[in-house]
């Protein structure tokens, strides 16, 4: 690709030097000018064929490059025939067989563009695509009509064949514009984007040169080697570069849904529209001031609509990104909910295996032994029954603990406040930590789901406080404010930084995230404030009827610590 770029750069530089100085003499201008086309055109054909070979794995892309090679070969044929007429036969090469070659370029190049691999589309997307292509092609076609096609028709004075050929070129350009629009809107496959961008530039250059050529032939005469040739020369160079930029294609993948992106240039039709209105103003500049104002106003209106479209599109992009992030978060959360549920089952199964099942099996052996001894008339058998009874009592207690751990009965029986009081006492039983529970929930019970969520959040927060905070005092507050419930858990421990919290998350400790998720899933809000050396405060608000909370006052002994909510 780089080598091709350098070579074509050098070649174009030589061509430019010729265009500027006409070395080789004016007598051979046409010959030299025509001959310059041969190497670059041949190079473009060969490059396109090589690109087709690199696309063996992707049949549509291969066919597309083959068709482009064919189109360029037709163009080469046109060049050769034209050179023959101009230089050897010394005849006016227009209209001639050369035009057949040139004109064949247009439909074949269009076919190449339509063979490009594209993503699958919904019917609605196809309609949008069609409209976009039509808008761009039409807004490009109007200047072609204005500059060359219309005037050619109006001028007349040619034979029928010459007229037909003269009209065929601008028509071919219109056809190519449809191809360019399709290239812009259909969305190129990732691997081909660079190559197709170069093809697009080449095509636009080609069409623009054709329009200039049309204008030149209307207002003067054209001979091979004129400056306008440079446009086609550059276009051919771009086709060649495009072909060399085609990487080895991979097998086609499953179609992706089309996303809104800046690459889908959906503002382009508006720009096309604006350009056409500007064209009207240009064409009508000799009309009266009144109409001119109207025309200018229309141009401004179209420009404003275009800008608005740009803004809408960028809003859509932002919304789309937010949606994607939300979806990713949701997937992650679901994933973790499932794995957390499974972890919990593993934990319970292990506890049952290591605890009750072993104990009961051992108890069974004990009772069997007692029966054997008793049958033998050994008094020791009865003593074993007493031992078994003691073990059975212990076992029932163990199972009760496991049960309470799964779902504390006090939560169902006497509410959140009492359950938290019991839990605080259990967690900090053998520590020097001072605990305080301030409950202002009133007599009425909260809905069961609210109680469960707040209990689990408090459980997690207290576990963190007990394990990591090195706190001297922990204060839990529960308050009903209007129609929401606020829970706050505050400690005067060592606190932590945001980085420390992130590091714990990376290590797989989802406690903090889990708390927030529980609350947010319940439609509430959750805040964590922690400063190293100054304690931690977690505030969770759950709506009972969806009202906003009033703020909680800090715990009596903690406000001098400066822990802020």
């Amino acid at each position: 690709m780089v080598r091709a770029a350098v070579l074509s750069g050098v070649f174009l530089a030589i061509y430019a030097s010729w265009q500027l100085t006409r070395w080789g003499g004016a007598a051979h201008k046409t010959l030299i000018g025509d001959l310059f086309f041969m190497p670059i055109n041949v190079a473009a054909v060969v490059a396109a064929l090589l690109a087709a070979r690199r696309c063996r794995a992707e049949p549509r892309a291969r066919r597309s490059w083959q068709l482009l090679a064919l189109a360029l070969a037709f163009y080469l044929l046109g060049d050769v025939v034209q050179t023959y007429y101009e230089v050897v036969a010394r005849a006016k090469p227009y209209p001639s067989l050369g035009d057949v070659g040139y004109l064949a370029f247009y439909p074949v190049a269009l076919a190449a563009l339509f063979r490009l691999p594209v993503t699958r589309r919904s019917p609605r997307e196809r309609v949008t695509l069609g409209l976009d292509c039509a808008l761009v092609a039409l807004s490009g076609a109007v200047p072609i009509w204005y500059v060359s096609l219309g005037p050619t028709l109006a001028a007349g004075g040619q034979g029928e064949v010459a007229m037909a050929v003269s009209l065929a070129y601008p028509l071919g350009d219109m056809v190519l514009l449809v191809g360019v629009a399709a290239l812009l809107f259909r969305g190129a496959p990732a691997g081909m984007r660079g190559a197709l961008a170069l093809v697009g530039v080449g095509l636009v250059g080609f069409v623009v040169t054709d329009v200039v050529f049309g204008w030149v032939t209307l207002h003067g005469t054209y001979a091979g080697g004129d400056l306008v040739d440079a446009g086609w020369m550059v276009a051919l160079a771009f086709f060649m570069l495009a072909a060399t930029a085609q990487p080895v294609a991979e097998a086609p993948r499953a179609p992706r849904p089309i996303a809104v992106s800046r690459r889908r240039v959906s503002w382009l039709p508006y720009i096309g529209l604006a350009a056409n209105v500007a064209l009207i103003v240009q064409a009508q500049r000799n009309i009266g001031a009144t109409m001119l104002v109207v025309y200018v106003a229309v141009v401004v209106l179209v420009a404003l609509v275009s800008v608005r479209q740009l803004v809408v599109q960028s809003e859509l992009l932002v919304a789309q990104r937010a949606l994607r992030e939300a979806q990713a978060d949701r997937a992650l959360l679901l994933d973790r909910t499932i794995s957390r549920g499974e972890e919990e089952r593993v934990r319970i199964a292990t506890e049952l295996h290591d605890g009750p099942v072993q104990r009961l099996a051992a108890l069974g052996y004990l009772l069997e032994r007692s029966a054997r001894l008793t049958r033998r008339g050994d008094g020791g058998g009865l003593m074993l029954v007493d031992e078994a009874l003691g073990e059975l009592g212990g076992e029932i207690e163990g199972l009760r603990r496991l049960m309470a751990d799964l779902r504390p009965p006090v939560l169902d029986e006497s509410g959140l406040e009492n359950a938290l009081r019991d839990h605080l006492a259990t967690v900090f039983r053998q520590t020097d930590v001072k605990v305080e529970l301030v409950g202002r929930l009133g007599a009425e019970r909260l809905p069961p789901d609210t109680e469960t969520v707040l209990y689990r959040v408090a459980q997690e927060a207290l576990l963190n406080a007990a394990q990591h905070a090195s706190a001297g005092k922990v204060c839990v507050q529960l308050e009903r404010t209007g129609s929401s419930v606020v829970l706050s858990i505050e400690d005067d421990g060592i606190g932590f930084t945001h980085e420390q919290a992130r590091a714990r998350l990376r290590d797989g400790h989802f406690g903090v995230v889990g708390m927030r998720e529980r609350i947010e899933l319940g439609g509430g809000s959750w805040h964590l404030d922690s400063t190293p050396g100054r304690g931690t405060r977690i505030t969770a608000m759950l709506p009972e009827l969806g009202a906003a909370p009033e703020s909680l006052e800090p715990c009596s002994d903690l406000d001098e610590l400066g822990v802020s909510a």
Partner: protein, 141 residues
């Protein structure tokens, strides 16, 4: 109950008791209850191991005829122990005594080389029968 054990029980005309057994269980209480049970049936519990590594050492030094092992233990589990035991020269017969009653675990134990699979909590006499049958099979090898 294991089919093999049932078959052996039907033809249990062998002398009862007297088998040298090693008990492997990380639960001390279960292990000592198993020892009491086996002693009541006149077997000799040559040792108790609380994990598989210890069990492998005791198998080589105490040369039991039968090893009774738990399945789920910290570190090396019962299935892996069974596989390791089969590599010992003149290996003892191995009986898995597990809290799980699961057909695929039974199959895995059989493939690992266990002679029988007994679920924890089944009557002690079945463990006794399994030990007797396993000892007979081991000496017949």
């Amino acid at each position: 109950m294991n089919q093999q054990v049932e078959d052996e029980e039907a033809s249990s005309a062998q002398p009862v008791g007297g088998v040298r057994v090693l008990v492997v269980d990380d639960d001390q209480q279960v292990a000592s209850r198993l020892r009491e049970l086996l002693t009541d049936f006149n077997h000799t519990v040559v040792g108790i191991a609380s994990n598989s590594i210890q069990a492998l050492v005791l198998i080589k030094t105490l040369r039991p005829e039968v090893v009774l092992t738990d399945l789920r233990m910290p570190g090396m589990g019962g299935l892996q122990l069974a596989a390791e035991v089969m590599r010992v020269a003149d290996p003892p017969a191995l009986i898995v005594v597990s809290a799980y009653d699961d057909p695929s675990l039974r199959e895995a134990a059989r493939r690992a080389g266990a002679y029988a699979y007994v679920v924890k909590g089944t009557p002690g006499v079945q463990i006794h029968d399994a030990v007797v049958a396993a000892a007979a099979a081991q000496s017949a090898r």
